[in-house]
């Protein structure tokens, strides 16, 4: 068994503010193998996004250790091992679709040939090669998010960090993009950390689902998704799919700290 690609040991985060200290995450330990698709689900304020940012070295943990490919998270970021996708596309208005996908390659100082070729390939992968010359505002929300995914893949990162990337999209677009995302992951062999509010989305995409509870954020339960790895519309109709959705929903509801909050209502 190869060493895990991401290893979290006793990670905690406390935010200091004038109002006092807020404990956002407590004692998070998790090992992720290469090629896994891990969803992190939990109610608002459970520290999911903070956890994602700690792995990506965008936020420093207050305690604990993060190892990525056997290195520190900082070193992994400097080595450009991460691709990141936010809830909003965060495309730069002044760049065309193609130029937005070129951005990481420019920053990394990649040769001119690669800066031309790679974005074209990626836009084909997400089905937007016809829109290369368009500006972001000329695209729908779903298309913009596909550009963001193409951009995240530009440097061929081994780890994709996705913070509710489809949270702002309508359900039909979300389902289609879920399907596309799985294809993209299969082709790029990237390991994915995926924050979401949707139980159905988590079950459909993941190999494992990390269920979190809030205040302070902690891992409640890890649900292994034992569905066949090749997934499609038929997957959503499997009895096992519903069982897993129910399991995740129960885990979210049974937490006494969530009583009354009825989290996870957006799913399944």
């Amino acid at each position: 068994m190869a060493a895990p690609i991401i290893e979290l040991a006793g990670v905690a985060k406390t935010f200091e503010s004038r109002a006092g200290a807020t404990e956002a995450l407590r004692a998070i330990s998790l090992a992720v193998d290469a090629g896994e698709f891990i969803s992190i689900i939990g109610p608002s304020g459970c520290g999911k996004s903070s956890l994602l940012r700690i792995v990506g070295d965008l936020v420093e943990p207050s305690a604990g250790v993060v190892r990525v490919k056997g290195k520190s998270a900082r070193q992994a970021r400097l080595d450009r091992d991460y691709g990141i996708v936010f809830q909003t596309p965060v495309l730069y208005d002044w760049r065309t679709v193609l130029e937005n996908v070129q951005l990481p390659l420019e920053v990394a100082g990649r040769p001119r040939g690669e800066r031309q070729e790679r974005p074209r390939t990626l836009l084909r992968l997400v089905g937007l090669d016809e829109f290369a010359g368009h500006y972001p505002w000329q695209l729908s929300g779903g298309m913009q998010q596909r550009v963001a995914i193409a951009r995240a893949l530009a440097l061929n990162p081994s780890i994709l960090l996705m913070d509710e990337p489809f949270g702002a999209l309508d359900e039909m677009t979300r389902d289609r993009l879920n399907q596309e995302l799985l294809q993209v992951c299969a082709e790029t062999a990237a390991t994915v950390l995926f924050v979401t509010h949707s139980i159905a989305e988590a079950v459909f995409l993941s190999t494992r689902i990390v269920v979190m509870s809030p205040r302070p954020g902690a891992i409640d339960r890890v649900v292994t998704v034992d569905l066949p790895r090749a997934r499609g519309d038929a997957t959503r109709a499997l009895p096992r799919f519903f069982e897993l959705v129910t399991t995740v929903r129960r885990s979210l509801r049974e937490d006494p700290r969530l009583a009354g909050e009825r989290a996870g209502g957006s799913g399944g």
Binding site: Y82, I84, F86, V90, D93, W94, V107, Y135
Partner: protein, 254 residues
Amino acid sequence: MGYVREYAPAALVLAMGLLLWEAVVFAFSIEFYLLPAPHVIVQSLRETYPVLVEAGLYTFTEAVLGWALGCGAGVLAAMVASCAPAFAALVLPYAVASASVPIIALAPLAIVWFGVEQGSKIAIVVLMTFFPTFVSALRGLLGVTPESLELMRSYSASEWQIFLKLRLPHSLPMTFTALRACATLAMIGAVVSEFFGGPVKSLGVYIKSTASLFQTRQAWSAILVACALGLLFYFVVAAIERLAMSWHFERSER
């Protein structure tokens, strides 16, 4: 064709306004030294044309030079301040407050410091245009979203790359808005500064001296020249803005 349709209503309003002006002067038999009719102003413009061109160029030079120095320094200062956000936060309130300082009140002092010629007027225009440009450019440079910064960090971009590829392009719309507003300010600043003293061959002095001699039509024709130069300045800056930010305008024209 598009331009005709866009500007035709405005041109029509102008024509009707001029007609109304003529009609009012004629109907109420207003003396020309109080309010000359438009055709009288145009006539005076044709007679005094050489003097007005010379005075116009003199004043316009002050406005353009002052604008270029003031706005240039404003943008540069904003760039430097954006590298030290803590320092920027310290000076920003004062820069914003400076908008309510009547800088034109310094014009008589500027003459003491920089002489009665163009130097003192340029100094006033520099002061008038520096702060608005500084404030707008700085807000544009610092106002990037946290996510767009995190995106750059995730690529381990250097501070210089973040500046060049994110902050600078993000600041352009706000900076150009200030540059346009300052073009107007610059012309006002130059003409009004000249009211406090300057050579005869300047628009401000020409307007002041002809008005005090009740040569109202000459004063009006000089005001007309000042308006035309102010508009010209504004539209040249607006044209540069369009060239520099084509992405921005394709969007707003949709």
